[in-house]
């Protein structure tokens, strides 16, 4: 049974997009998505990613978004676009074949968050607690 699975091709993390379409090689009765439906996934992904990119660049305009909120808006647009790429380009799904990929991704997100936000957190506290050299000299001299 499992040899049939080798006949299937997916050039992403494992949806049914990109399955083998060569006549006579697919298992009998296998239902294949049409080229149109596969193409649609990539086109939707491209449209969403382009819209989110445009929104990111556009939000720099001070008149569009309340000034102090721009950074948060940029982060939200960026994370949303990462999600779009994972779903529509890499085809990371919740299917059983993808369980290990999704778990590995979750672990990667954890480590990336620790490294990135941890560094910012530690360094900002250090900068606060370190007195600038000039202020230190003035304090000693006075």
């Amino acid at each position: 049974m499992s040899s049939n699975r080798e006949d299937f091709d997916e050039f992403d993390l494992g949806s049914h997009v990109g399955e083998e379409h060569v006549a006579g090689e697919a298992p009998p009765g296998a239902r294949h998505p049409t080229l149109g439906s596969e193409l649609r996934s990539y086109i939707i992904g491209l449209a969403l990613a382009a819209a989110l990119t445009a929104a990111s660049f556009w939000s720099l305009d001070e008149h569009v978004i309340y000034g102090p909120g721009i950074v948060m808006a940029l982060i939200v647009f960026g994370l949303a676009q990462v999600g779009v790429h994972l779903v529509f380009f890499l085809h990371l799904t919740t299917s059983p074949d993808n369980t290990n990929n999704a778990l590995a991704l979750a672990f990667g997100v954890l480590i990336v968050s620790l490294v990135f936000f941890g560094s910012i957190w530690v360094m900002s506290h250090m900068n606060q607690n370190m007195m600038p050299a000039r202020a230190l000299l003035e304090m000693r001299g006075g």
Binding site: M1, S2, N4, R5, E6, D9, E10, F11, D12, L13, G14, S15, H16, V17, G18, E19, E20, H21, P27, P28, G29, A30, R31, L35, E38, Y42, G45, A49, A50, T53, S56, L60, I70, V71, L74, G78, Q81, V82, H85, L86, F89, L90, T93, T94, S95, P96, D97, N100, N101, A104, L105, F107, G108, I111, V112, V115, F116, S119, I120, M123
Partner: protein, 224 residues
Amino acid sequence: MSAPTTALRTGRDPYHIGHAPAAGVPEYTGHGAGGPAPKRIVVGYGFWIFILSDVILFSCFFATYTVLIHARNGGPGPQEIFDLHGTALETACLLLSSFACGLTSLAVARRNLLWSEIFLAVTGLLGAAFIGLEVHEFYGLVARGDGPTRSAFLTSFFALVGCHGAHVTAGLLWLGTMMAQFPAKGFKASIRHRYLCFSLFWHALDIIWIGIFTVVYLIGKITP
């Protein structure tokens, strides 16, 4: 009766909406019920682990940039050196390149050599255009004396964006190899698995670029 057990009995995949396996296709349960995972799944998983480790490497560079963004030693800050028109153009090149890579995947799945080569060439040309724009930006900065040795901020900028550019350059070499191997070796399993890894690598580089244009360029542009 829990949903997965019911689904096993009825032969439907509860986790893959709209893609119920057809007759003759073994059930993928993710728990070894269908036998060992096919090599394609194992290869993709292994390369996915590598990509995630690469993302962690990049997260260190991102953290360095964010921490050092104010360490300018009297040199220029992000507002003075970034040209967002160039960044937007680079972003468009890389996004369209990623899309063309997806089209290549559809052509490779159909073993269509002509369209595989055409879309691979489009992917590569857009990637090369991206590298050209980046080299142009770097050259302009170094020519003005704002090279990586100018300040800690510029060191972290060149390290992060340069590391991504080096990855794209390596990807272009890989892409050229694939373009040569499809006609020379055909669409045999080992070559298809190699292409699977390449497509994952190329899409992942676009994801890293989302972080770069957001954190480095756009947030940099509004950081005084």
